[in-house]
């Protein structure tokens, strides 16, 4: 056996061990796009909440809670949130399946299923908790809780994909806890967590793995 042959053999083994246990087709580009959608969404939400208010009430307590006085606002915000989520998920599916084809990994296989399963437990728990609190009129919990539970879901999903995802999750959790201490800046933290962090991490992942 030539040296190069052995090297190839070892590289093939390493690749297979990774490909069989981790979903390495997660697209960095979809992270960047999700961040952009979330930033636009936050901008629109800001407009919905504070349009017509003048001067902008930055120093008011319970920033989000105060804007939601009319029932129309709540529904348009919910709709906006669902739109952003849907756009991000669709983008992630399209780009990751393209990536999966290139890396020879099934998009809907054993690993992507465990990835989604482990992600969905904290995500569904958090989503239901937020809805329950919203039903009670506690809107202040939305931003911190969505950041914290999203972070938890990333940490638990990171066992099945790149380890970098774990650090993104930890950052989201930290940001969520800070947001909980500063309830009047909920929307700002939401934009930071879902917008800016996604763009930064998506960019890093793109440079590291996509090409």
């Amino acid at each position: 056996m030539e040296e190069k042959e052995i090297h190839d053999e070892l590289a093939a083994i390493r690749g297979l061990m990774e490909r069989s246990s981790k979903f390495i087709s997660l697209s960095g580009l979809s992270g960047i796009l999700a961040g952009i959608y979330a930033s636009i969404g936050s901008g629109v939400a800001y407009y919905i909440l504070y349009a017509g208010d003048y001067p902008v009430k930055h120093n008011s307590h319970y920033f989000i809670a105060e804007g939601i006085q009319s029932i129309i606002n709540i529904y348009s915000l919910l709709l906006l949130g669902i739109l952003v989520l849907l756009a991000s998920v669709v983008t992630a599916i399209i780009l990751s399946s393209r990536q999966a084809k290139r890396k020879g990994q099934p998009i809907w296989g054993k690993i992507s299923q465990s990835l989604l399963f482990h992600m969905s437990i904290p995500l569904l728990t958090g989503g239901l908790l937020i809805l329950i609190f919203m039903y009670d009129g506690s809107y202040g919990i939305v931003a911190p809780a969505s950041l914290i539970f999203y972070g938890l879901s990333l940490v638990s999903a990171s066992n099945f994909t790149f380890t970098d995802v774990k650090y993104l999750g930890l950052c989201e959790i930290a940001l969520g806890l800070i947001a909980a201490c500063l309830p009047s800046y909920g929307l700002l933290f939401w934009a930071l967590g879902f917008g800016v962090l996604h763009i930064i991490y998506g960019g890093m992942m793109y440079l590291k793995y996509d090409r």
Partner: protein, 101 residues
């Protein structure tokens, strides 16, 4: 230069068998169909290599049912994991040896 070619495990001479062991070394269990998709080989081909590894007692088979569909899972044994590791070590030594000469 003689060191190690005979140390290389005969059971892993075939590429598919080595690939199967790599997957089972990285995962607790793996099922037949996922293995087939991952390695991109035919049913018969995969089955015959799995049989061979089973005969060496490098892997064990777990058969169960998912609803009405049979679901076959494979798991590496302690002997199998040890043999796999030794095989890799030998490959590594071969590289080192060739570099130093």
């Amino acid at each position: 230069m003689k060191i190690s070619f005979d140390k290389l495990d005969k059971a892993f001479e075939n590429r598919v068998r080595l690939q199967i062991m790599s997957v089972l070394a990285a995962n607790e269990r793996y099922d037949f169909n996922s293995l087939k998709d991952l390695l991109n080989i035919t049913d018969g081909n995969l089955a015959s290599h799995l049989k061979a590894l089973e005969k060496e007692e490098y892997i064990v088979v777990h058969k169960s049912f998912l609803g009405r569909k049979p679901n076959t899972n494979y798991e590496a044994t302690v002997i199998g994991k040890k043999a796999f590791k030794e095989h890799l070590d030998t490959l590594e030594q071969l590289i080192k040896h060739q570099k130093s000469t």
